[in-house]
Amino acid sequence: MEGNRNAESLVEIENVHKWFDMTQGVVDTLLGRDPQPVRAVEGVNLSIEKGDIVGIAGESGCGKTTLGKLLVKLYEPTEGEIRFDGQDISDMSREQQREFRQRVQMIFQDPFESLNPRMTVFDAIAEPLQINGMADSYEDRRERVKTVLNDVGLGPAEVYLDAFPSELSGGERQRVAIARALVVDPDFVVADEPVSMLDVSIRAGVLNLMKDLQDKYDLTYVFISHDLSLIRYMCDRTAIMYLGNVIEQGPTDKLIEDPKHPYTEALFDAVPDVEIADERRRANATGEVPSPRNPPSGCRYHPRCAHIIPPDDWQGSRDAFRRAYQYKIRLREADFEREEFDGDDGAERMLSIGLALDVPEEYRHSSELRGTGMGVDPSELDLPSETESSLRTATEKYLDGDRESAVAELDALRTVCADEVPQPRPIDERQVACHLYDDGEAMRTPAAPNAE
């Protein structure tokens, strides 16, 4: 971790950014918008210790795969530095590069695509040996490939050597892909969703194999997965990513049993489980992941967050602040269609709909539950009266077509979460990037309105 450089660190990632520029999305082209770079990875700091299995988890598009590819030098960082065994991997001599290509390997998600259909199992596994100039004679290569095949559970090797990928099952193919990574005896392996294409009944075999081989080959792994149950099974430590940022990292068990970042909490709450099916609490998060082309300011997660922080002088409840603030965002983004709110009661309707939260039922306000869930009674929310009246004024201005002054009317609704990018802080054996912990251990109040 930053500032805490351990002698045992194998990989150090320091303030790494990866922006994919300028290829325009279809929608951008249609609307004639300027191309925006995709900020796939932004300011990531992470250190990976020898012998660990480090998980990288998060929803699709959060930058997991990009980070993985940066680690094996399939991408170059836009900014920042990655050091492998102390050496900056963007600045290596030819000899160092050759060594790096042998010591660092990647396993990809799709065993059906990562193998060349015209190569036999032997050719596929022997290829990295040749590329790396290891095992010169055919006999040596044959022996080495056989050993690895046995190691990955494809034994007796003779049965598989001359087979083509099409003759293998999914699990067998992924084992071949693992063998291909291990044959050069690497130190560090990045596995990107290595079992997600496999049937459940064979997944466990591949996972256990990866664990066994870790001891045998003395490996350090990065294990990328969107599946948090797999992360729990595999990883000593885990980094949770959201929109290009690592928002929390630390020992996996700690993260799951006592998540600190509100996003980590929501993510784990959302995982269905055979054991606790009936009592499970749902995730308290609104909306979906916004586009990485235009991420929210400050904490990337704040527009969805259940624990968004009101200003110090806020007199109402936190739940009421969350609603009022989301309303402000929606005004700013012109999320309401004015024509829909014609008529005398238009402003009231817009306010009622706009202050409702799109959250699971257990987190709804009592007046939301009485209706269809799409509207709330503003007077029943614990809003300070001056806020309530500026919300009304803002709504009227918005409906009059003056969006700018509508948003200006709500200027008092500010939050540190939107204004400042939270820096990772050490808390209880982990790093958390959330303003709740700006003063150390947080005062977190419940976000459910019924707990007010």
Binding site: V200, G205, R232, P272
Partner: protein
């Protein structure tokens, strides 16, 4: 009350010189208002089974045999109360039996169209990607209503579309948006709303959350529960994810290689697990709540279904296989009566806990052994 009763259903696909036995001799019953799950790994026949109910199989697929009795019938066969008329029931030319149930398997292609949407709606696998991106979402729902209920006015249909969207948690004003403006979760909600357009009594949802991120999945699962509560609709849900199934299903069937291996209530399946395949599946599935766990995979890989031999479909991977298993696939045994009497007794009632395994009378031993890792290792060496 029974809504759908599937008896001895077998479905084949004709390929080259062989037949794929995608579903073989399936029996199960879905009650009104419940959520029934079909769970199993890729290729076990879940989608095939679901599609066959509405005659939506690929063109080389056909119902080889079996019945699908459904509580609902064609409009032209109904009396004023929506029940089949007596002369229809009495006339053997119509596939309607005395209790008023209609055999969907025997309907013609034009007849089944009157069942689709109105009585049984299907949300296909990856349906959210099938929304037409250049059409307004509301219009797509309106069109579905008008197509299946021609007597409805455009205005009524429009109102209903907005109401449906609101009920699945989409702001009705977004009815005028195009599908490409919707996020993944909203698309999936819209697809659910569309399926509910004609107020069906059975909703079939094929992998409704598989392509979604976990937080959105959580919301869609809640949505399905709420839809069920509000409309009283039965849901036949298909998934390969047993933890999703554990959450939403009242009862379920576990499929393997085209066969139903075990069926029962959720508790039967998860707490009183009886079938070796289900036991193996549970062993291989990680859970988020358990700190120390040792996953064990089932050795080998799922069978292909081309002209399968008559033996138990699972026997090649099963550590408990005996000679009997080679001869024929086991019938469904009634787990509770076998445990009570110690004798193998075939299941008479689809609703009771059933397991297709010749060794159901040695359940205690099998359960104990199935928990041990070595048990599943031994077959691994045998089978390769």
């Amino acid at each position: 009350m029974t809504l759908l009763e599937v008896n001895d259903l077998s479905i084949r696909y004709a390929v080259e010189d062989a037949d794929v036995h995608a579903v073989d001799n399936a029996n199960f019953t879905v009650d009104s208002g419940e959520t029934y799950g079909l769970v199993g790994e890729s290729g076990c026949g879940k989608t095939t089974l679901a599609k066959s109910i509405l005659h939506l199989l690929d063109s080389n697929g056909y119902i080889e045999s079996g019945e699908m009795w459904f509580d609902g019938t064609l409009p032209q066969w109904e009396d004023g109360n929506g029940n089949p008329r007596k002369e229809i029931i009495d006339d053997d030319r119509y596939p309607v039996r005395a209790d008023g149930m209609t055999n969907l398997a025997e309907l013609s292609d034009s007849q089944i169209r009157d069942i689709r949407w109105r009585e049984v709606a299907l949300i296909p696998q990856s349906a959210m990607n099938a929304l037409n991106p250049v059409y307004k979402v509301g219009d797509q729902i309106v069109e579905a209503i008008l197509r299946h209920e021609p007597q409805t006015t455009k205005r009524e249909a429009d109102e209903r579309a907005r109401d449906l969207l609101e009920r699945v948690g989409i702001d009705p004003e977004r009815a005028d948006d195009y599908a490409h403006e919707f996020s993944g979760g909203m698309k999936q909600r819209a697809v659910i709303a569309m399926a509910m357009a004609c107020n069906p009594s059975l909703l079939i949802a094929d992998e409704p959350t598989t392509a979604l991120d976990v937080i959105i999945q959580d919301r869609i699962l809640e949505e399905l529960e709420q839809i069920q509560e509000e409309f009283g609709v039965s849901i036949l849900v298909i998934s390969h994810d047993i933890s999703v199934m554990a959450e939403i299903c009242d009862r379920m069937a576990v499929m393997y290689g085209g066969k139903i291996m075990e069926r029962g209530t959720r508790d039967d399946i998860f707490r009183e697990t009886a079938n070796p395949y289900t036991l193996g599946l549970k062993n291989s599935f990680p859970t988020i709540t358990q700190k120390q766990q040792q996953l064990v995979s089932i050795p080998g890989s799922p069978p292909h279904l081309r002209d399968p031999d008559p033996g138990c479909r699972f026997r090649k991977r099963c550590p408990f296989a005996v000679e009997d298993c080679e001869r024929s696939h086991p019938p469904m045994y009634d787990v509770a009566s076998v445990e009570e009497t110690g004798r193998l007794q075939e299941a008479m009632d689809d609703r009771r806990h059933g397991s297709a395994c010749y060794r159901t009378d040695e359940l205690d031993e099998i359960r104990t052994k199935a928990m041990k890792e070595e048990t599943w290792k031994e077959t691994a060496t045998q089978s390769h």
